[in-house]
Amino acid sequence: MVALTPTAGAGGLAETQTGGPATSSRRRRRPGIGRGLVLLICGIYFIGPLVGAFWFSIQDKVHGGVQFSAYAHVFSAVGFSDAFMLSLKLGIGTVLISLLLMVPTMLLLHLRAPKFRPVVETLCLMPLVIPPVVLVAGVGVVLAWGPNQLAGTPLQTFLNAIQSGKTPWVLILEYVVLTLPFTYRSLDAGIRSVDIHTLTEAGLNLGAGWGTVTMRILLPSLRTSVLNAAFLSFALVFGEYTVASILQYQPFAVFIVAAGQTEGQLSTSLSLLSLLITWLLLLLISLLGGRNSTKVDI
């Protein structure tokens, strides 16, 4: 067999062997040729479009050379501030509602109703399984009941209210659903890592009431995971395109696409900026939250 032929075995520990007596760091440190090649090719593939897009966004098409007007004039672009404000509103609304809904639910689930955990977990992860386009198709059908089957009922008023007006509540309500998996995972990991049972027990034994325990003990110890959940939800909403564009609203992501029809440089620069900002924030949170949070939640 191969193992017994003299040449075949050489690959096995060749690396360690060549480490030699002088090296104090052993194994893994010497990147093999294969590994280097893989990193190089993938590096080109992933960095290439970023560099290309950046270069594209600063080209001066009229005079040649370089100019940064696509970045400088972002805020004065027609429709940008509306779209940006809308996304901001959607993001904040989604984060607030989903935390309001999920923090008590998760605490309750871990402290008082653990037998519901499988059900809740499955439900929370379902939005990852069902394609958003399917969800939004369903939302469309339900919204259409307003002027038809539900005409004249209070439900019609409700359906109207969430679609029109300054804030498209229907988006926020559905975004909460789309962000559920992230919120669930973050909070779940956070709750597991601090052992809320012991904390709660300790608090209660010391004579604190339930309210005090929740506000003074549980929430502070879940700070990182709540922050994490909030950020992930916000990032998701800010980049969300499918639901908003099909329901004909124009938040940030939809604006980028619309602008792309006429102002390629603007869309490109906005795309780059949004990727970069999301990444930096995520990096920050991962550094803040320690190793655990990136691994479990992202």
């Binding site: 096995g12 290439g48 479009p49 653990p114 379902m126 394609p131 369903g138 990444w279 990136t294 691994k295």
Partner: protein, 326 residues
């Protein structure tokens, strides 16, 4: 937006801890009767979960269920009577929609398989060669591309290899190579979609498979070497079988992610390329023939029928391997 959350979702449901029921401890300390406490708590806990269940029912189950239901409904244009029918689904499986399904499946399959393979190799290269800080850089970057990529990815590629993209022009100006006619590359066609999809599929694979690679114990390699295995034999007999369920599961996940993706394709092709998600949009935004109102729902049903079983298998595979890797 997908896997990572799921990657950790292994079956760690620890059983309820009977002793650690703080409420009960408290009540007992107060001196009230424990049995009464237990009853009251139980109903209270259930009540506390109702907002969640109501919310999910109203804003997730109702819309999704409606789609699946109305996929089988049809309103007769003449009489206005609505009845059950299979005709929506059958139309959704023919003609241009059949092409859409076929394209979506092809795109998902190719980017799923290629993404899984390249992602696996890349994840291995990262896991085996970088330090802690770099790993964190790469993992967060992968998270951004896999989860929040969407629209921006399309524009990165349009700017680089689109019709007036930087590389397109550079090739044409300096080398007289036309991407389209000489290299048969069309960013707005299936080749372009594949290239762009890989930009989020590969990071998704890296994200999902890295924990599995990190879970490979170095002692397995040492034990194998000790018994006489070469590096290749170790991978073949030990490493690969351990990773296989994970890799397969991850590939399924990638398939679903490619199959469901909407934003990138829409932004790239302005909704023109025949893919199911784009067609659903076209159908439900109203420009359809009379009597075809529920066609979009039928298309949605087809997507669900394809995606859900695969995701269930993915879950099962994940669960199977977690016990090996920790």
């Amino acid at each position: 937006m997908t896997a990572q959350s799921r990657a950790g979702s292994s079956s760690e449901w620890s059983p309820a801890r009977p002793t650690a029921d703080p409420g009960q401890v408290h009540e007992l300390a107060d001196g009230s009767a424990p049995i009464v406490t237990l009853k009251r708590r139980r109903s209270y806990a259930w009540l506390g979960l109702t907002p969640f269940f109501l919310y999910i029912a109203a804003f997730f189950i109702l819309p999704t269920g409606t789609v699946l239901f109305s996929a089988f409904r049809k309103t007769d244009a003449g009489t206005g009577v609505t009845s059950f029918t299979g005709s929506n689904v059958s139309s959704a499986l023919h003609g241009v929609y059949f092409t859409g399904i076929k394209n979506s499946l092809t795109l998902a399959l190719i980017t799923g398989v290629v993404g899984a393979l390249v992602g696996l190799v890349l994840a291995w290269a990262i896991v085996s060669s970088t330090g802690n800080v770099l790993t964190r850089f790469v993992s967060t970057a992968a998270a951004v591309l896999a989860n929040f990529g969407g629209v921006p990815l399309a524009f990165l590629f349009i700017a680089t290899v689109g019709n007036s993209g930087l590389l397109t022009k550079a090739l044409a100006d300096h080398f007289h190579i036309n991407l389209n006619s000489d290299l048969h590359f069309d960013l707005y066609g299936i080749t372009g979609l594949e290239l762009v999809y890989l930009y989020f599929q590969i990071p998704l694979m890296v994200l999902v498979i890295t924990p599995a690679l990190e879970g490979l114990k170095p002692q397995w390699q040492e034990a194998a070497a000790n018994l006489g295995a070469t590096r290749w034999q170790y991978w073949r007999h030990v490493g690969a079988p351990i990773l296989a369920p994970n890799v397969l599961g991850a590939a399924l996940l990638l398939f679903c992610s490619g199959f469901s993706a909407y934003a990138t394709a829409d932004a790239l092709t302005s909704g023109a390329f025949p893919l199911i998600p784009l067609q659903i949009h076209a159908v439900i935004s109203g420009n359809v023939l009379a009597g075809m109102e529920n066609l979009g729902d039928a298309l949605a049903l087809i997507m669900v029928v394809i995606v859900v079983p695969l995701m269930v298998i993915y879950q099962l595979l994940q669960r199977r391997t977690t016990r090996w890797l920790r």
